[in-house]
């Protein structure tokens, strides 16, 4: 259980985090979402005591991180997979962490096995690792002490499609067995697929949070009907705005139950009715963070998403 209460961090006149509050619950994957520079990393760094907060508190299982006697056994942390000594082998990197935590020697080989680094790869220096291999090594370090909380900053970076799927399975399984996972990303689809809860941050402020299912519901319903104009007017009369989609579709800003009721009352046949999922979070994300999106970022967004979809498939 992670609790962040009113955390604020200012650097001179710049506010990196402003009154940030949220929790990450055991048994759930909490996605921490925001564009680059929104304050995700600052918040996570404050959480693990690497950066001091200007005000506010961050606790893990009720204790401040710096008060944990042997943090590695309670919290697995991966903030930056590139931040590893280039001259150490992968195995040695894990061994150093294993010794700090006071764990049995065998844990190192178990973890190498878990993240699928071969014996040959583990004997290579980290400078010769790809970003994907560094991510695997970082995840191995985070899981070494069998912690009950995982804090990962952009863990999918550099992983290949199979690696992303593997990571997703690993985190899902971890949360299903009662672990708390806090996972940051700017990759919308990655988060949308894996997270149970979402926290969206923009320019240092939390702009949305809650269960994913709840947040996505606000994206509305998609329906197809033989009498589009009639139904659009009926929806408007009921206070629900809608916009035409395709030949006979409507995107209504209400959940499917409400739209179904209105359609039934109006007496028009509905061919299809479902929650508007595709890009729901993306719409919300772009909308919530519109003021901070640079043009180039917006332009690149579809390309990134496309890659991600490829990865998901």
């Amino acid at each position: 259980m992670i609790t962040i209460q009113s955390v604020t961090k200012t650097y001179g006149g710049f506010t990196a985090a402003a009154d940030v509050s949220f929790t990450a619950q055991p048994g759930r994957v909490t996605g921490f979402l925001g564009p680059n520079g929104a304050g995700k990393s600052t918040t996570l760094r404050i959480l693990v005591g690497l950066t001091g907060a200007t005000s506010g508190t961050a606790t893990i299982s009720g204790r401040r991180y710096v008060d944990l006697p042997n943090p590695g056994l309670q919290v697995g942390v991966l903030l930056d997979a590139s931040a590893q000594h280039a001259g150490r082998t992968g195995r040695e990197t894990l061994t150093v962490a294993q010794r700090f935590m006071g764990l049995p020697r065998g844990r190192v080989e178990e973890m190498l096995d878990l993240v699928s680094l071969t014996a040959e790869e583990a004997s290579r220096r980290v400078r010769d690792y790809s970003l994907g291999m560094r991510q695997r090594l970082g995840i191995a370090t985070a899981l070494l002490g069998e912690p009950e909380v995982l804090i990962l900053d952009e863990p999918a970076n550099g992983l290949d499609p199979a690696g992303i799927r593997w990571m997703r399975g690993l985190l899902r399984d971890y949360a299903d067995r009662g672990g708390t996972v806090l996972l940051s990303s700017h990759l919308l689809h990655e988060i949308e697929v894996i997270a149970d809860d979402l926290v969206v941050i923009s320019t240092g402020r939390i702009v949305a949070q809650g269960a994913k299912s709840h947040l996505l519901r606000s994206a509305g319903s998609l329906l197809r009907t033989t009498h589009r104009q009639v139904l659009a007017r009926a929806l408007l009369d009921a206070g629900v705005s809608s916009s035409p989609v395709g030949e006979d579709g409507l995107l209504a800003q209400a959940d499917t139950a409400q739209v179904g009721k209105i359609a039934f009352a109006t007496g028009v046949p509905v061919v299809e009715l479902r929650p508007a999922d595709g890009g729901g979070l993306e719409d919300m994300f772009l909308q919530l963070t519109a003021d901070t999106q640079r043009d180039t970022t917006s332009d690149n967004q579809p390309a990134t998403d496309h890659q991600q979809e490829g990865a998901v498939a």
Binding site: L50, E146, P147
Partner: protein, 267 residues
């Protein structure tokens, strides 16, 4: 791929309260980190190799009259005054330059403990390697004099040797201090070499030309005050010089460095 269940227990399992990581474990692990990279290993190995080379050089080139134990130890001491501080500097700065500090300071969220452990590990390295190097020198003295057909001369007392160990430990700690203060490998190394090779020359020139500095030098020049350790027993005044210059060059910068380290962001 391996499933999580086989390799990792239940993450939510309630555990007995964990013990605080003992300082001894941080020290031994930091010690390991000084050897476990190729550069770290060869730096350590170079102490032995250079001590051996220096000993051989003395045997080859020293005249019979010069073949005394102190000739060997001073020859061995030259590479050591360079290598030991470099080891100390890199043990600190690599956490920033190599960014491994992100993991270290996350696993041990008390930077003062990590720095203290590193300092103790450094002193440990000095205390073990210097007698080892002196041992090589002693062998050299036996072999060299046997080859030359003269009696070996042991012209250093135990207190002389201890003073040399102290001088090297102080030199190493000065390098360590620079590492803590600067937190960048290249910057700290350059600063150390300026201190070690440029400043003494400048001080020498200044002392030769300016009377006021010649009188002041023992009270401000750490290197000068340390040099007394290589030349036999220290007088009370020389100890005072060492204490005062040590405070100025070691204790104060170290205090500032520690304050900076606890505040500095680890990127």
């Amino acid at each position: 791929m391996t499933t999580l269940d086989t390799a990792s227990g239940t993450p939510a399992s309630t555990r007995a309260t964990h013990r605080r990581i003992p300082l001894s474990r941080i020290i031994t692990t930091e010690l390991r980190k000084m050897f476990d990279t190729r550069s770290g290993f060869w730096l350590m190995a170079s102490i032995g190799i250079l001590a051996l080379l220096a000993t051989v050089a003395v045997i080859l080139f020293a005249s019979h009259g010069q073949l005394t134990y102190s000739t060997f130890t001073s020859a061995i001491n030259i590479p050591m005054t360079v290598v030991l501080p470099v080891i100390a500097i890199l043990s600190v700065t690599s956490e920033w330059s190599q960014r491994s500090g992100l993991t270290t300071f996350t696993l041990i969220p008390h930077r003062g403990r990590v720095i203290a452990a590193k300092a103790i590990a450094c002193v440990g390295v000095a205390v073990v390697t210097i007698p080892l190097a002196f041992g090589i020198g002693a062998l050299g003295n036996l072999v060299g004099t046997a080859i030359a057909g003269v009696d070996p001369v042991w012209d250093l007392t135990i207190s002389n040797l201890l003073a040399i160990v102290l001088a090297n430990v102080l030199g190493m700690l000065f390098g360590f201090t620079l590492g803590v203060l600067i937190r960048n490998s290249v910057g700290a190394l350059v600063a150390y070499f300026v201190y070690q090779f440029l400043l003494p020359t400048l001080a020498l020139i200044l002392a030769a030309s300016q009377d006021w500095f010649r009188n002041l030098q023992p009270w401000v020049d750490f290197d000068y005050a340390q040099s007394a350790l290589f030349n036999g027993a220290l007088t009370t005044q020389q100890w005072t010089h060492l204490a005062i210059t040590g405070t100025v060059w070691l204790v104060i910068p170290m205090t500032i460095g520690l304050l900076l380290v606890t505040k500095a962001e680890v990127k």
